[in-house]
Amino acid sequence: MAKTIEEIADFMFKQVSEAQEVSKKLKPGDLTKLAIKAFGDEGVDKKMGKMAIKELVLSGKCVYTYFGGSFLELPHREGAAND
């Protein structure tokens, strides 16, 4: 059964949150792979993965970050920032 974009986004959000607790970073591609693994090919395809990520970012729940590669993280104050 195909999942809704919201369901996928919620799942991805949980993955990002859990990863961040152990200071691990996930790439957008990792998230789509995880979602496909969890929901199966019928539940999620790559396009839906992409849309879910867009949803996550547009809702403000996650932000893109760059540390030698691009990642999705919960919004936070970064180490390098000056006020």
């Binding site: 790439k27 957008p28 591609g29 789509t32 790559k46 992409k50 990520i53 867009k54 970012v57 547009l58 403000g60 932000v63 893109y64 970050t65 760059y66 540390f67 030698g68 590669g69 691009s70 993280e73 919004p75 936070h76 970064e78 390098a80 920032a81 000056n82 006020d83």
Partner: protein, 400 residues
């Protein structure tokens, strides 16, 4: 009153005949406190022989994962105005052509919201707005998009494509570099703004094998113009070049890598069947020789700078593509997407597609994306006997 910095080191670089970047920073500093602090900080770097920047990995405009490079100085107390000094990459128009009106609009936006310093242009080809604060990013973005501009790529996404001047002003363009660069950019806006790849992916479009945008050295997909039929020749003009002192035998014929030219002091002959379309003879005598009429492009894959596993040049993937033809162009785009899928699926973090191909093997990569291996793709066949013979699966079953 902004601080006044003494800059004896940098002042030295205002002297001399080459245009001075110090003059530029000082011009900006007259109007802008950020540029003034930059001047002070840079003088300090010159004295200490050390940069004073920290990389910021989070700043950006809402919804995009590329186009902004975060920077903070590590001396914010002393240089408060450049405590934030983020860069914006703005997607340049194909071929870097501008109306003065467009440039004035860009300058106006940047003078009001940033340091007033730019790079025209950055290495990837974008317009670079150098230095602004986090709070200014959204207002700049809004004004830019209202003026018809958008951000370029950065991070693990499709980077801003770039192209040579091509048919705009070059008689050697073998396809419409400006148009195809624009088409690719427009088609992949999502890939450009929302990083979803293992690492960066660059397209560069050169209209002929002179490769003015260094596509073969810098782009994951290098598209270089070429032609199939004979070089067009005007013997009368050949004569004129000879009369005007061009040493046709030594400088043209002997420099031909295919050794396919003959010159008897009067007539120039080319064995076009052997010609490698290297451009040398055409470069020397542009009035006499020109690329043929059956034009298109070679598509090559995999170039990159040394990071991480060493530098690579692109290698041939499609020896001839009539890229100006819309249908062939669409097929090419489908292939690109197929390749990106395979690379996204199997590629490692920070692994460019060229490195990915090195790791899995070109043969396996071609198989995965459904392209037939052909001899045009290699300089020479393997010279080691370590072949992985692949058993036909049916046969295997029979054996069992």
């Amino acid at each position: 009153m902004p601080k006044e910095y003494k800059t004896p080191m940098l002042d030295e670089l205002e002297k001399g005949p080459w245009p001075s970047f110090v003059k530029e920073i000082k011009l900006a500093a007259k109007k802008n406190v950020m540029s003034n602090d930059l001047l002070g900080l840079l003088e300090r770097s010159y004295n200490e022989r050390l940069g004073h920047w920290k990389h910021g990995g989070i700043v950006g405009v809402f919804g995009y994962g590329g186009g902004v490079i975060g920077r903070y100085t590590d001396l914010p107390e002393e240089y408060p105005e450049i405590s934030h000094f983020h860069t914006l990459r703005i997607n340049q128009p194909s071929g870097w052509f501008y109306t003065t009106e467009a440039l004035r609009t860009l300058c106006d936006i940047w003078d009001r919201h940033g340091s007033g310093l730019t790079n025209m242009h950055g290495s990837t080809g974008d317009i670079i707005f150098l230095g602004t604060k986090t709070d200014e990013l959204e207002p700049i973005f809004k004004e830019l998009t209202e003026a018809g501009f958008d951000l370029g790529g950065s991070g693990s996404d499709m980077r801003t494509p770039s192209c040579c001047v091509g048919p705009g002003r070059c008689e050697w363009a073998c396809y419409d570099t400006l148009q195809r660069c624009y088409d690719i950019t427009m088609k992949y806006q999502d890939e450009l703004h929302r990083p979803a790849f293992p690492y960066k992916w660059k397209f560069k479009f050169s209209g002929c094998p002179n490769d003015c945008v260094a596509a073969i050295a810098r782009a994951d997909i290098s598209i270089i113009g070429t032609w199939k039929d004979d070089i067009k020749m005007d013997q009368a003009e050949v004569k004129k070049y000879a009369e005007n002192g061009v040493d046709i035998f030594n400088d043209v014929v002997l420099n031909c890598p295919a050794k396919c030219m003959k010159y008897d002091g009067d007539k120039l002959e080319i064995n076009n069947n052997d010609c490698r379309r290297c451009m040398h003879c055409i470069n020397v005598m542009p009035k006499a020789l020109r690329p043929g009429d059956d034009k298109g492009a070679i598509v090559l894959i995999g170039a990159k700078a040394p990071i991480v596993e060493g530098a690579l040049l692109s290698s041939v993937l499609i020896p001839f593509l009539n890229i100006d033809d819309d249908e062939e162009f669409e097929d090419f785009c489908d292939l690109v997407e197929e390749m990106q899928d395979v690379w996204c699926e199997e590629g490692k973090n920070r692994e460019r597609v060229g490195e990915f191909i090195q790791r899995v093997g070109m043969g396996n990569f071609l198989e995965a994306v459904g392209v037939e291996p052909i001899p045009e793709m290699i300089a020479y066949p393997r010279d080691n006997p370590y072949i992985f013979f692949e058993m036909d699966e049916d046969e295997e079953e029979e054996e069992e």
